[in-house]
């Protein structure tokens, strides 16, 4: 042990005495290790850290959501669970001020907190008895809400808080940091159906459901249990539940489903960066080993065994890697800050990204491993010395061809790794370019949107609600600079939307549950023109389409194509399949498609109905789109004033420019691109530095040869060509190897691509040319140096 300590001490001193070498190696490793530490800290926070609930491994999420009747049946029939709870987000509007203010809240079944294993900081949690229809209005507050709005009042339990939906009695306060899966909320109230219709609407899967498996119950066993229930419900309620399966996912796995692929991809990318960085250091170590041939020979002559020599060299590489890892923590800190800042909304656990002890342990382990693996080859090579020539007086360091071959091979592999990363980044870049050139179907410029959600209690009456929206639209369109205003229940690039089953008049009846689906948007007459959607056939909706007029609708091209192929849809009638009574709606026009959620998604069949003819009392919300003549500065405040003038208790929320909504919709792709692009750029620089190092070393080794060549009449350009040729040969080898690897690996990217194939030749060629250009740049300096060799000096040095 003490000899190991001795090796480490000597290694530390050697590194201190070679500051140039040590700095180069440490900086290189710090970049590679920092990128890895940062990505691991993200993966750890998002995917590996246990969810902040009791025994989180027993929690499962029912995929696809639940309705009230389904939930009741699960609770009654399932045998695999200790409990099942459900919840959904719900805005709570604080009233009483000059303008209403919205608080993010959630409605939860009484059992949910118990299912999650949560505990209250003060008072009590909601319980099973609390979610009866007609029960008292109770609320549990977040720690933040209690502190911020109630001043941390010690007597908060039992107090009442006034929201637009009534006065709520505070029964408890949750500890700081508590949140439900997927739903950010500051207050939780009991979940009860808003209407008898909702209580019985088996097809309205608006609830998020979470279950806690009984101890010892496996996921497959629980799934079997749910499948049996699903089969019973399918038979009993074919209209809503025909062939409907309730798929269980481990809760954690469900929450990270959208980011898992990208994070693993980026983790793979940084592993490549580390490989390249470590290869650079291995190359430096090999060069250094050549320079230390004599020292190694002396050690061997003093009795050092090969193993001891390897250990000595490994001690140096491990020490370098550990110092590199420590320096990498600084780099990691920058990168994690950047990742957290840039990460798209909704990445679970991203706010928990820290360089915590587990991450530090990871860095330490990777550092030691890197030092061992990448020190081993130079160690084995360096420890194999021929004693006699090395110890002979004036012994000249002969170029070891095997070592030079190894260094060349390392550079080839670096170039190959860099090419794989660059191809990945190139494909993502082209995807994003293609995506951003997609026409969303409307003009997003100078279009500002906001949301109004009047409380059900006061605006459950549809005509009253319609008047409210019309009043708001009338006032907003009169604002200076506003050229058009329209309202819609579902905005492009806004929240998710609901499909409805419908029937077409004159078509043979279909089996319940098999009717076609259409995406329904309730809009003001001015909405389509505000967005700039042109009417392709028939007419647009008009202010004359009132509640008492014949019911009409405009469909989009996708609906015309899919549901009326080869027919003229104008004049055809449709009706909602699940409506309590059949109300026929006549199609009066066809408008162009818009991208509804993402630029990458083709528009689905959609139907626009006049908001005055809305049939769904529960659909109280409306999004308003405002088109302005100039950049919409100060519009939000003006809009708030106008809305408050109509009803001061309705908050104006989600004020966003449409351009921003579209930008946000591509944010995950941009995030992946920026990170992968950044890592690929780093890889490119490191590979360039590696190539530069190897070529410089080779030139130094061949100084005499260059001198002879110049003495024999070689022109500087001949020497430059010779050196560049050597570098480019290595590069092309790496490009060929990397292209083959990329062809195999880029398919893992295919789900992230848009409008470009994973084997896109233009990307491959472009990236290869970029690498060759960087390689030429990296080789140019050593080539120039070789060309300037003075034959006299070079030959005298012999």
């Amino acid at each position: 042990m003490d000899t190991l300590w001795q090796d480490l001490r000597h290694a530390a001193r050697l590194l201190r005495r070679s500051p140039g070498f040590t700095t180069a190696a440490v900086v290189t490793l710090a970049l590679g290790m920092g990128a890895n530490t940062a990505m691991f800290s993200v993966v750890h926070a998002v995917m590996l850290r246990p969810l902040p609930y009791a025994e989180p491994d027993r929690l499962v999420r029912v995929r696809g959501g639940s309705s009230f009747p389904d939930l009741q049946d699960w609770v009654a029939q399932a045998r695999s669970f200790d409990g099942l709870g459900a919840y959904r987000s719900h805005f709570l509007d604080l009233t009483g001020g000059a303008a209403a203010e919205r608080v993010d809240g959630a409605l939860v079944t009484g059992d949910l907190f118990r299912v999650l294993g949560a505990r209250a900081e003060r008072g009590r949690l909601l319980e099973a008895r609390d979610d009866r229809p007609g029960g008292p209005k109770l609320i549990v507050l977040s720690h933040g809400f209690w502190q911020r709005r109630l001043g941390g009042d010690a007597g908060v339990v039992g107090r009442t808080v006034r929201f637009s939906t009534g006065e709520y009695e505070v029964v408890g306060v949750m500890p700081a940091g508590f949140s439900l899966p997927e739903v950010e909320a500051e207050a939780w109230a009991p979940l009860v159906p808003e209407s008898p219709e909702e209580a019985s609407a088996r097809g309205a899967h608006s609830l998020m459901a979470v279950g806690r498996l009984r101890p010892g119950t496996s996921l497959p066993a629980a799934q079997e249990d749910m499948d049996a229930i699903a089969a019973r419900l399918s038979a009993a309620h074919p209209e809503e539940n025909k062939d409907r399966r309730f798929v269980l996912n481990p809760l954690h796995q469900f929450l990270v489903r959208d980011v898992r692929g990208a994070l693993l991809l980026l983790l793979g990318a940084v592993a490549f960066v580390l490989l390249i960085a470590a290869t650079n250091v291995a190359n430096l170590l090999l060069a250094r080993a050549a320079a230390r041939r004599k020292e190694i020979a002396i050690r061997a002559s003093l009795g050092a065994s090969r193993a001891r020599l390897v250990r000595q060299l490994l001690a140096e590489s491990v020490l370098l890697a550990v110092v590199g890892g420590a320096a990498g923590l600084v780099v990691a800190n920058w990168i994690t800050d950047l990742v957290v800042t840039m990460s798209p909304a909704g990445v679970p656990g991203i706010d928990l990204v820290r360089l915590d002890p587990r991450v530090l342990a990871f860095t330490a382990a990777v550092s030691v491993l890197t030092g061992l693996v990448f020190g081993l080859v130079p160690g084995l090579h360096g420890s194999r010395v021929s004693l006699v020539p090395s110890l002979k007086e004036g012994g000249r360091a002969t170029g070891a061809p095997a070592r030079q071959r190894l260094r060349s091979a390392l550079v080839v592999s670096q170039v190959a790794l860099a090419l794989v990363l660059l191809v990945g980044a190139g494909l993502l870049l082209r995807s994003l370019q293609r995506l951003q050139s997609v026409d969303p179907g409307f003009d997003p410029a100078r279009l500002v949107t906001f949301n109004l959600t009047p409380p059900m209690a006061r605006y459950g009456d549809i005509p009253r609600r319609t008047r409210l929206f019309e009043d708001v639209l009338t006032r907003v369109v009169a604002l200076p600079g506003v050229t058009a205003v329209g309202a819609t229940s579902e905005l492009p690039f806004g929240m998710g939307s609901l499909f409805h089953n419908f029937v077409i008049d004159g078509r043979p009846p279909l089996e319940p549950g098999r009717e076609p689906e259409i995406y329904s948007r309730s809009v003001s007459p001015s909405y389509l023109s505000t967005l700039g959607l042109s009417v392709l056939r028939g007419r647009a909706l008009s202010p004359d389409d009132r509640a008492e007029s014949p019911r009409v609708a405009v469909i989009n091209e996708a609906a015309a194509r899919q549901h009326f192929p080869g027919e003229d849809p104008i004049g055809r009638r449709i009706a909602w399949a699940r409506a309590p009574e059949r109300v026929w709606i006549t199609v009066v026009g066809i408008v162009g498609d818009v991208r509804a959620q993402e630029l990458a998604e083709e528009e689905v069949p959609a139907l626009y109905t006049p908001m005055a003819q809305e049939l769904r009392a529960w659909k109280t919300w409306m999004n308003v789109a405002v088109r302005t003549a100039e950049a919409p500065e100060g519009l939000a405040a003006a809009v708030r004033r106008e809305v408050a003038a109509v009803d001061a208790d309705i908050p104006v929320t989600k004020v966003r420019a449409m351009d921003d909504l579209i930008t946000a919709s591509v944010a995950p792709r941009r995030f992946n691109l920026l990170l992968l692009g950044g890592f690929a750029a780093l890889a490119l620089v490191l590979a360039g530095v590696g190539l530069h190092g190897v070529i410089s070393y080779a030139v130094a080794q061949r100084t005499q040869e260059m001198g002879v060549r110049v003495a024999l009449g070689a022109a500087p350009r001949d020497v430059v060509r010779l050196v560049l040729g050597q570098g480019l040969a290595l590069t092309l080898g790496g490009v060929a190897l990397g292209a083959a690897a990329a062809l195999g690996l880029t398919r893992f990217l295919s789900t992230m691509l848009f409008g470009v194939r994973a084997t896109d030749p233009a990307t491959f060629i472009g990236v290869a040319l970029l690498l060759v250009a960087v390689a030429a740049l990296a080789c140019y300096r050593p080539a120039r140096r070789a060309a300037r060799v003075d034959p006299l000096v070079a030959l005298r040095g012999d």
Binding site: T3, H10, R13, R17, E295, I298, E393
Partner: protein
Amino acid sequence: MIQIRNLEKAYEQGGGKVFVLRRINVDVNEGDFVSIMGPSGAGKSTLLHVLGMHDSAWTGEYTLAGQPVHKMGRKERMELQKKNIGFVFQSYHLLDDLTVYENLEIPLSYRDVKKSERQSIVADVLDRFQIVGKKDLYPSQLSGGQQQLVAVARAVVASPKLILADEPTGNLHSEQGREIMQLFRKLNQEGTTIVQVTHSEVNATYGHRIIKLRDGWVVD
């Protein structure tokens, strides 16, 4: 101590063989102080490296301390070398990044001597060679003579029976050279067998006998 029979060493060159050592037969007894002399290229250093087991590409028989080196594998040779031989080189070959103390300690460390024991042996050698005051200096901070003194100290630190010295005074001026040779004589008188390669007739007089080499042959 050393018996060599029909030892030959050759290089392959241009389809033929170039002999560096030819049919060498040498005996060195325990307690001998032998000087190998001859013109440049005669094979002196090569013979010394063969004796020191730095070179294993030779034929013939070589017995050291009763052990047949020619029948041994690499590891056994290394063990035999570690146990019996200390080296002194013309250009000292101290490890530049280690202090004097550490340069003396390293051969012991390679022989797995315990730390406490190493400390006491090194302290003893520092004392014997009167270089205690220099123990924390690096080789670059010493004169040539001092460096060679440390090199000799390093050669004897593991108490070898045999010291092989390759032109040990070649890089020293005459006074420093004389001191080193006197040191060798003293070590020899204390029982250490010494084989040195030298060009210097004066240095050869410190030894008991001379082996002369020319073109790879022993010529005396």
